[in-house]
Amino acid sequence: MNTITKNTPSGFNPSVNKSRRRFVQGLASGGVLAGMGLIPNLASTAPSVEVPILEGPTFDLTIDEVSVNFTGRPHRATAINGSIPAPTLRMREGDNITIRVTNNMSVTSSIHWHGLILPTNMDGVPGLSYAGIKPGETYVYQFTAVQNGTFWYHSHSGYQEQTGMYGSIVIESRNAEPVQFDRDYVVLLSDWTDEDPHTVYAKLKKMGDYYNRRERTLFDFTKEVRKMGYEKAKANRQMWNQMRMSDRDISDVTGYTYTFLANGQTPNQGWKGTFRPGEKIRLRFINGSAMTFFDVRISGLKMQVVASDGQYIKPVHGIDEFRIGVAETYDVIVQPQQGGAYPIFAQAIDRSGYAFGSLSSNGQKATVPPMDPAPLLTHMDMGMNMGGMDMGSGDMAGMDHSGHNMAGMGEGGSKARVKIKTGPNIDMLAMDPQVRLDDPGVGLRNNGRRVLTYADIKNLYPTKDKRDPSREIELHLTGNMSRYMWSFNGVPYKDSRPIGLRYGERVRFTLINDTMMNHPIHLHGMWSELETGDDNYLPRKHTIIVQPGAKISYLVTADAKGQWAYHCHLLYHMKGMFRRVIVA
């Protein structure tokens, strides 16, 4: 039963008059928007002070080039309805939805409804769903909202997502919600850069570690020598040095260029959600970043995680922190008994910055907690089987690596059961990739907090398709960090053939990460049912993190005919790490 408080000054109230199309969600502004010459309606608009909320079933969206200022300097952006993030779209499960999208820009655009199950021509991927939305055109999306939950939408053209085209979708359940809450907030996390994304991509091609400003220094080594002695310190470095890999290669694009946003607000501005002590607050976390994984916690509050990628899961209680990959969503319930201001603290995975907001009962901003130390990749993240699978060995310093001889490293790669095109385009293969569902991931292991892992996630409702898969598709996530090339099985999208699925079949996808980075893999059009241990309650996800050096598998029922996109959701990886999936 949804027990939303009536007439609260903020937080969504479903009984609000439908004519009230704009809704105050936070207290203050996202980036200050102003038109760029040709867009007078925006030029005359006062600074946008809220993420607007639009209510369905019919929506009108426009795409414009605008000027935005997140950093003190105005910069060009692409925005939906003049707002970054784009308006939150509220729909009702079962409704027939109409969304008219008009492109006022001089280049082709598109909008993809991330996580929504809909016909392929409504999916918004240029080339696969349609030709895109040309300048001056209006495309009318029509589909039935067959699901409920927290989703999002974004451009699927060029780098428009990085430059501001992303927003939240909230679909109310047609039946009573299985969780109770008094307030309902979206917390949309994102990353903003003043640099042209083409420049970012070019810099990464020219210098893969361009944005990594916490590389190893001489003194890190001398520190290790003091700590563990020269021989051990040297042995510890040996594999990394021989492989020419850095254990600090966590994120490609970092806080060096990014400003991290929560609901379009910088940490300085600080988005605020109000509450009264004792209320249950539903927070719908969405990672709408181009490249940034966040580790999210609310200091002083335990979280109850109730949904993952918009799908209700068996509530996971007592969670202090969770990692949210690019494009994932998590719904959590918190219930602060004490008044005050609680920090919503979303550290970038490499600790190069954070997005920040507050839950506040007194109008005050919370205090920003100190960031955790920057993480170091371990041998396990390189796909080496560490025997005991000791998840606690985030600090590998104490381990003796002298036993690892390089000759033994080759064997794991031969475990690949599919052809991998090796060559200059691949800098490593995981030697012995393990399923690591209960591994919170680099930087979160043994941090003293209860961290959500995929092993915790079971669907609230029973698995619908109980068939065993009839076959398995194995894909390796491959790349060369220094050349900045990305691919599946060593083959970039442009050289690949589509993946074919027979309509109605049930298939296991096994992903093996042969790189040192987390990749969020997104299948359009169909659920990815993550094999988290209980086949009767497989959580249905649209985006799945594959940890470095790990493998993971999920089941897909090919119940949607057509051509679908399947890709890494890191924006600067996806052009290579991409496949078409054809269901016929």
């Binding site: 082709t108 240029p126 080339g127 696969l128 769903s129 030709a131 895109g132 991509y201 070019a202 810099k203 091609k205 020219k206 190893r216 220094t217 001489l218 040095n241 021989q242 492989m243 020419r244 490293m409 080759g410 790669g413 690949a416 059961r417 599919v418 052809k419 991998i420 090796t422 060559g423 200059p424 385009n425 800098d427 293969l429 393990q434 399923v435 065993d468 076959r471 398995e472 598709i473 194995e474 894909l475 220094s482 050349r483 900045y484 090339m485 599946f488 099985n489 970039p492 442009k494 690949s496 053939r497 589509p498 993946i499 074919g500 699925l501 298939v507 598998s553 052009k575 991409f578 054809i582």
Partner: protein
């Protein structure tokens, strides 16, 4: 005889780099003869009660056209990079020469056109000027094979064919090794290496070396056969931006064998240590 010496020297110099790399890539990227074929092998990490099912990469055996026309997703655009590796003034006796080493490329991920130049300028005159134009092809994860031509404008006009490898050796040693074949049976080899030692994220100490060898005497160039000269440098730079770093350093150079004899005959020093100051930049 000379050619044998050069060939031997080259193989000694280059092969450890490449072999080490290939060797290593063999360890990390083994190819299984059976790969590519769907197999019925069990994945033992999965629960064993699950029946074995065929495994493949899922690809169709034919392509299917895109249903709609759309902008291509270009993951491999043509890019250019210009690198001023060294542009520096030397604190030498009397005149203070300016020297440079620069590189530029245009191309895609695996195939590029490289230009390399180095030279020395004293009192507004080019004392040394060399230019290379190379086709560069990625042959291993960290290595490019570079083939092309080299033209020396100063001190003496010479033309060479170039065959080289450039890349990153294990332990993060940057290496560039090349064999030059010129007119009249002239041959030469050059090996350069450097290592970046980060003192902080922005302050970087770079030890580097260069070795030149020649197949035969070239009195006009004042160069003798065999090991000709070795230069060792140590430069400390501060990256105000990734793309721009001024530096100071010291460079020690020594001439050997017949080259040293030529130098001595000309009344020069066969060994010299100089302070340098300059900039490193790229865009």
């Amino acid at each position: 005889m000379n050619k044998q010496v050069i060939a031997l020297t080259l193989s000694l110099l280059i092969s450890p780099l490449v072999v080490a790399d290939m060797d290593h890539s063999k360890h990390t990227m083994p190819m299984d003869k059976d790969m590519g074929k769907p197999s019925m092998k069990m994945d033992h990490s999965k629960m064993s009660h699950k029946p074995a099912i065929p495994v493949s990469d899922g690809s169709l055996d034919h392509d299917v056209p895109l249903p709609y026309k759309a902008d291509k997703m270009e993951d491999d655009p043509v890019l250019t990079k210009v690198m001023i590796e060294q542009l520096e003034i030397h604190d030498a006796d009397g005149d203070n020469p300016v020297t440079w080493e620069g590189e530029a490329w245009i191309g895609k991920d695996l195939n590029k056109l490289w230009l390399k130049t180095e030279g020395e300028r004293v009192n507004g005159e080019n004392e040394e000027l060399e230019l290379q134009a190379l086709y560069s092809r990625a042959i291993a994860p960290y290595w490019d094979l570079q083939v092309g031509v080299r033209k020396d404008f100063k001190p003496v006009g010479r033309e060479w064919g170039v065959l080289g490898v450039k890349g990153l050796a294990p332990y993060f040693f940057e290496a560039d090794a090349a064999l030059f074949v010129g007119d009249n049976g002239r041959t030469a080899a050059r090996v350069q290496g450097e290592y970046e030692l980060l003192l902080t994220q922005k302050t970087i100490l770079t030890p580097e070396f260069e070795v030149n060898l020649y197949g035969k005497n070239d009195p006009e160039m004042r160069i003798g056969s065999g090991l000709s000269d070795v230069t060792v440098g140590l430069r400390l730079r501060h990256e105000f931006k990734r793309e721009f770093a001024p530096y100071i350093g010291v460079e020690w150079a020594k001439k050997f064998g017949n080259t040293a004899d030529f130098t001595r005959a000309d009344g020069g020093d066969v060994s010299d240590t100089q302070l340098v100051a300059g900039i490193k930049a790229w865009f």
